[in-house]
């Protein structure tokens, strides 16, 4: 069970430290490297979204890694709960690090924003709004922007990917002399690991990943599949021992043979204590002087 939940843990528990470390480092290394290459959207429980022709086999292979792929089965259910929806109205103050762009007027390049957003719920002329500030840098220069208005959307809390999309309008007159009417900041705030690990990505997210990563995304899948399949070997070894024996078979066979020749009978059953074999010492003969 331990060998399934954490690759190598079963061997470590059995005292087979070197093998435990080999399994742990090799299998988990491959698995998490694959996860990193696929931006954390490689292992997911909704098998209908797996690549065509592969179907549910993708998750079955990844399941071999046990404790690190099992959450995907539960995260899928959490993500489908009715309460998991995008936020258009804030009910409590919201502060988070932000990275994204200031959406530009037509025909110009977007400016890069990095900083912190602080938003509070507010009551506008036509209903609930948000009001707040962005503190950070705009293309490397310090800037403070006034945020607000009805244009606000925060992505679902539970979703694949470490970034949670945030879009918020800018208040007129904010900034440094630029016309900000109709403009907004668009970017991401961090999503916790608990709310992103193993969650099934949207088809659009998978499409984006394939576009941006290309072959790397498929390699990431292959890494996680192989890691899962390798752990089946490790589990087998943990339960039944190594396929070609423990390496001491020659010694046991030789001992059995020597006992048979000496007429000492078969060796004692496993687990019983036995006197160590000592070379017989010939008695010293006293020679008369």
């Amino acid at each position: 069970m331990l060998a399934f939940l954490i690759p190598g843990a079963g061997h470590l528990y059995q005292g087979r430290t070197v093998k435990g470390i080999i399994y742990c480092v090799s299998i988990l290394g491959l698995f998490f490297w694959g996860q990193k290459m696929g931006e954390g959207m490689v292992v997911y429980g909704d098998v209908t979204l797996s690549p065509p022709r592969i179907g549910p086999l993708s998750y079955v292979a990844q399941l071999g890694v046990g404790g690190f792929s099992l959450p995907a089965a539960f995260q899928n259910k959490r993500a489908k709960e009715a309460s998991n929806h995008s936020v258009r109205r804030l009910t409590a103050p919201f502060t988070a690090p932000f990275a994204g762009t200031l959406n530009p007027p037509e025909g110009t390049e977007p400016s890069q924003l990095v900083g912190t957003v602080r938003l509070d719920p507010a009551e506008g002329q036509f209903g609930p709004e948000v009001k707040g500030t962005f503190d950070g840098t705009l293309d490397g220069k310090p800037v403070k922007l006034e945020l607000g208005g009805p244009r606000f959307e925060l992505d679902r809390p539970i979703k694949a990917g470490s970034g949670r999309k945030l879009e918020c309008g800018l208040l007129d007159g904010a900034g440094e002399g630029s016309n900000l009417r109709g403009r907004a900041i668009i970017g991401t705030v961090p999503r916790s690991l608990l709310n992103s690990y193993g969650v099934t990505p949207d088809p659009a997210q998978i499409q984006d990943l394939n576009d941006s990563l290309g072959k790397t995304y498929e390699l990431a899948l292959v890494f996680t599949w192989i890691a899962g399949l390798l752990n089946f070997l490790a589990i087998w070894d943990c339960v039944n021992g190594p396929a070609y024996g423990f390496g001491d078979e020659h010694t046991v066979a030789a001992e059995t043979k020597s006992r048979a020749v000496a007429g000492a009978g078969p060796p004692p059953p496993a687990g019983t204590k036995e006197e160590p074999i000592r070379p017989e010492i010939a008695p010293v003969q006293k020679t008369p002087v």
Binding site: K19, I22, I27, L230, D237, P242, A243, Y244
Partner: protein, 67 residues
């Protein structure tokens, strides 16, 4: 063509090395118990895998020569 093919695939091809290392280590560890045996056999298996991939690459290169 050989150079351009290698360069184009360089990033992806290098992933083969750690992948082969991990597979060799885990496979050998599941066959043997003694660490020195495991490392010896893993090294041999790693060389076999890389050698096989090189042969496959060479065959594909020859087959696509001039295309």
């Amino acid at each position: 063509m050989f150079d351009s093919l290698l360069l184009a695939q360089a990033n992806v091809t290098w992933y083969m090395v750690p992948l082969a290392m991990a597979i060799s280590l885990v496979y050998s560890a599941s066959r043997y118990e003694l660490p020195e045996y495991i490392l010896q056999r893993a090294f041999r298996l790693f060389l076999q895998i890389v050698g096989f991939m090189c042969v496959a690459f060479a065959i594909l290169w020859v087959l696509t020569y001039g295309l």
